[in-house]
């Protein structure tokens, strides 16, 4: 909104601040001047008025703020009108008193319509307000000056008197913008006896507008219900200066003054004379809800309880409260004990409660004049049970080289189906790809891996922790999950080929995550969902509770995404993981006695898995033996050094006693038992 400093000064004869100072002082009080530009005779302010301050969306309203800040006089607004030629009052009827609270009408006859000149035209030019005809400009000038919307009809186009009523469903009305609107019963119209002539509070009608030929005018200034105007404005997609003000709460008492001010301008610019006294129909119920609201009680103690200390150490005193509120248009009646009954100004419908008045006092006093104090606190910080667990999980994943990432909360319907069998649909999704609440972090993770692969970043390791959603549009459940994703060139290790190294890396990450928590059994089972490649994925269970999956993304999904290389994924349910207590490390004495390593090299059939081998060795129950470790696994595709369908395994055990040096003979005995056990599994010792 544009405001001219010179126009403000017309209402502030005693102000001494310059334009720059005035802009700063207004801004600090919440009447934000965003830009100050030089214009002839002063400054143009570009302003941003918060939606609750409709009273300050005009020059007089802002001048009132300035008068309050500087404690200077504000020139009263009034119109000087000649005596009207006696005539019958113009007939005005309000048929929808719940929607129209007040309607004023004034007839002016024998006007000459033309272009605006002089001071008004200059101000319009500076404010970039488009001039139309002098009589119409008068209405706009009053809107800019004191904020109340008015309208001028061509009186000769009106058939019979004014009726303010609800529209008939299907009723048609061509508006000033040239569009024809089909109305609803919920629309309020200003009508004559035959037809609607304006969409009340939003826009006037085409057929009754002022034209170059207009001779006689009816000036309207009214008050309409906020909600009704908002609904009509929305319904018809019409946001006008008038609707903007009415829907935020116009000044009930301003209607007759606005009407008179418009008449004064029209008489000066277009000539003509007033016919009959101004008609002013007031609905008492509406007045009670606006201009005649009950007084609000305000106590000095309550002001101080909410606002606290001031920089000058005095706090907010009663005199300050009286001065500010009076300047803003309230009247204060002391009721004893440092309290007042405060009558509220008709133009401030945003003020309703004691706290609203307290805010006004803080605002005018200036927020930055309050001290910076620190409240005492008797409570203590309560840590949520999952906080240290989540911190440990994130720290460990970062230590493994996984970068933390954040993906979209939404996914496509197809992704929801493929990764979870369904999801909860959005009503107004941002896009089709974001049509569902994500039931899994996997689609987002794949998208992030894909993003990197498409940019030739071939080695990627990411994790995301976040919310996934399940249920229905009737009821949605949220769970916290963690998702890991890797892709890249991996080199073969002693235990894995290049082709499956990342699989075992992912398994290692899962094992590390599990190791953060106290548990007795971590197991991996071969059953896996469709999004995992068969034989290359596993379900992860801790103490018999399935907590998620990991493995290689299925060929079908990788194909669909056109991924250039294999992708490994893991998704775990954090709720289930965090149900376990954090593992408290317990130190064991490191033995002073020498450890003896023994390696065993065997051929095994592919069907003999490590679990069987390690189990067979462990079940020998040798107390001095640490759990067996696979050191090297080797297969030979050509079947030369290792027969086809078999693999060679180098297995290591470590013997050590916490109490003594072990004897060669007992070690030999144990080794013999191990060889026997391995042979019993079908293993053949390598030569």
């Amino acid at each position: 909104m544009k405001i001219l400093s010179a126009w403000l000064r017309e209402f502030l004869p005693a102000i001494s601040a310059d334009d720059r100072q005035l802009a700063d002082d207004l801004t600090l009080r919440g009447i934000a001047v965003e830009g100050v530009f030089n214009v002839d005779g002063g400054s143009l302010y570009e302003m941003d008025i918060t939606t609750n301050r409709v009273d300050a969306m005009n020059h007089y309203g802002i001048a009132r703020e300035a008068a309050t800040i500087y404690n200077v006089a504000l020139k009263p607004l009034s119109a000087t009108l000649p005596k009207a030629i006696a005539a019958k009052p113009y007939p005005v009827k309000i048929d929808a008193p719940e929607l129209c609270g007040r309607f004023t009408a004034q007839v002016i006859r024998n006007v000459k319509i033309g272009q605006s000149t002089g001071k008004l035209a200059e101000k319009f030019a500076q404010l970039e307000q488009k001039p139309i005809f002098n009589a119409v400009d008068a209405s706009n000038y009053v809107l800019l000056g004191m904020g109340h919307p008015t309208h001028a009809f061509d009186l000769d186009k009106l058939e019979g008197g004014i009726v303010v009523r609800r529209a008939n469903k299907g009723e048609k009305l061509k508006l000033l913008d040239g569009t024809e609107r089909v109305l609803e019963a919920d629309d309020l119209v200003v009508a004559d006896e035959k037809k609607a002539v304006a969409l009340a509070g939003v826009m006037g009608g085409w057929d009754t507008m002022i034209t170059a030929e207009t001779k006689n005018i009816l000036v309207e200034a009214a008050w309409f219900d906020q909600a009704s105007i908002r609904r009509s404005s929305r319904r018809h997609g019409l946001h006008t200066d008038a609707s903007h003000r009415f829907e935020r709460g116009a000044d009930f008492n301003a209607a007759p003054l606005a009407n008179a001010l418009v008449c004064e301008l029209i008489l000066a610019a277009c000539g003509g004379e007033l016919h009959g006294e101004m008609v002013d129909v007031v609905i008492a119920e509406a007045a009670k809800k606006t201009a005649n609201r009950a007084a609000v009680s305000l106590s000095v103690a309550e002001v101080r309880r909410h606002l606290g200390a001031t920089v000058d150490g005095k706090g907010i005193a009663a005199e300050i409260i009286e001065q500010y509120l009076t300047a803003l248009g309230c009247s204060l009646q002391p009721t004893g004990d440092g309290a007042y009954a405060v009558t509220l100004p008709s133009w401030r419908l945003d003020l309703e409660r004691e706290i609203d008045l307290i805010e006004e006092i803080a605002r005018v006093y200036g927020y930055n004049r309050f001290a910076n104090t620190f409240p005492a606190f008797a409570g203590a910080v309560q840590e949520l049970p999952w906080e240290p667990k989540h911190a440990a999980v994130r720290r460990k994943l970062q230590a493994l080289g996984f970068n933390e990432a954040v993906s979209s909360t939404f996914c496509s319907a197809e992704e929801a189906t493929n990764f979870s069998g369904g999801g909860v649909p959005m009503g107004n999704p941002l896009s089709e790809e974001a049509g569902m609440l994500r039931p899994s972090l996997l689609p987002g993770m794949i998208t992030m891996l894909e993003y990197n692969l498409n940019r030739d970043i071939a080695d990627v390791a990411l994790y995301e922790s976040g919310t996934v959603f399940s249920g229905s549009t009737a009821h949605v459940s949220e769970r916290q999950m963690i998702c890991l994703g890797t892709t890249g060139a991996a080199s073969a290790t002693a235990l894995s080929s290049a082709d499956n190294a990342l699989f075992y890396e992912m398994k290692g990450a899962v094992e590390l995550l599990a190791s953060i928590f106290t548990h007795s059994q971590l197991s991996f089972t071969a059953q896996s969902p469709a999004w995992l490649e068969p034989g290359r994925g596993a379900q992860v269970s801790v103490d018999g509770v399935a907590i998620g999956w990991f493995g290689q993304l299925s060929g079908a999904e990788a194909q669909r995404r056109k991924l250039k290389q294999a992708v490994y994924l893991c998704e775990l349910d954090l709720q289930k993981l965090y149900a376990l207590p954090l593992r408290q490390p317990v130190s064991r004495e490191v033995s002073r006695f020498p450890a003896v390593e023994r390696d065993f090299s065997f051929f095994f059939a592919d069907s003999i898995h490590w679990e069987k081998i390690s189990g067979a060795v462990a079940s020998l129950g040798i107390a001095e033996m640490s759990s067996p470790q696979p050191i090297e696994i080797f297969r030979d595709a050509k079947g030369k050094s290792v027969p086809a369908g078999e693999y060679s395994l180098l297995l290591r055990v470590v013997f050590q006693s916490p109490e003594r040096t072990l004897r060669d003979e007992e070690i030999s005995t144990w080794c013999g038992q191990i060889v026997t056990a391995l042979t019993a599994l079908g293993g053949r010792m390598r030569a």
Binding site: T27, L28, G30, A32, T50, R53, A227, R305, H306, L307, G308, A309, T310, R353, I355, D356, I358, E359, Y367, N368, F370, A371, N372, T373, F374, P375, F377, A378, Q382, E383, R394, Q398, G401, F402, N403, E404, A405, V406, S407, S408, T409, V424, M426, G427, N428, P429, L430, L437, M448, Y451, N452, R455, D459, V460, L462, T467, T473, A474, V476, E478
Partner: protein, 365 residues
Amino acid sequence: MNESIPQLQSYDDAALEQAFSALAAEVRDGAAKLSSAEAQEQFRLDWLGRKQGRLKLVSDAWLKTAPPEARKPLGIRFNQLKQQIEEALSGGNGSTSATATSGALDLTLPGTRRSIGVEHPLVRTTNQIVSVFKAMGYSLAVGPEVETDYYNFESLNFPPNHPARDTQDTLVLASQESKPLRERLLMRTHTSPVQIRTMEQQAPPLRIVIPGKVYRNEAEDATHLARFQQVEGLCVDTNITFSDLKGTLDHAMKALFGSSVKTRFFPSFFPFTEPSADMQISCIFCGGKGCRKCKHSGWIELLGCGMVDPTVFGFVAEKQPAYDPKKISGFAFGMGVERIAMMQYGVSSVGNFYSADMRFLEQFA
């Protein structure tokens, strides 16, 4: 030099001591004369030469013929001697220059690193903010991202026809139209519902800090996305004042951005606070003198805040009567994490935070 190695008289301790002391004295004498590269090379050959070096001779003459029980003490002395020679060669006596050392490593090659992953910059910033408030007694609180209209709007004093409630501004779930307004499900537009949910569970005094994702139905550009992250705070007790709000946030900003940072407050408007304020900090780039980053104003807008509106306490009091606005008061504040992180790390486009581009993320290692 090539002196031969004397015959060892016996393998007892005294004999070994005598023989090795003599050799050690010779090493010392030789080491003292290592003033040139040539001298150093000669010394190396004399003692460590693979075929005729004296150490090799010692090994052949003494070590290999030693009886088993003497091997250990002999070996120890042998190694000590070898170490003495190597130290002399590596410049341990300070008389040789580094360039003279053969086999020295190229110190200008970059070090190699075991790769570590990084914390996401938004999480990093969030955690920084959270820990500042934790240090002031605030506990973490979280809540659902799918909210009801009641918790997201109604209980926060949004009027029924507030524009934010429109699907133009808010992402809503499908098929909500048949439900009563307050039960309709939507993506929370701010973290404030967690204030209500927490107050319903816990009587005052209360201090909570609430990080989380929020959503708006908005066109996306370089500085705005339809989803973003907030950190919000709430403090409720008897006698919490507007000046407490100012002091708390001023302290928090100094903890986050440095003790020279200043704050200032402007009136603003939010449905759930009254008085409401916007807080600015002095520009962290120019110190307040004015620069491009602060649009030459010297100030940067950082967060919205205010005293909790009594109407909000009224909604809470339906379940938790201790929130009687006549007896308690409180303040709340909320800030956008992306904006702060962009400022802290010089990120130009908010989209960077959500692409998971490794080249972007690894900058935060």
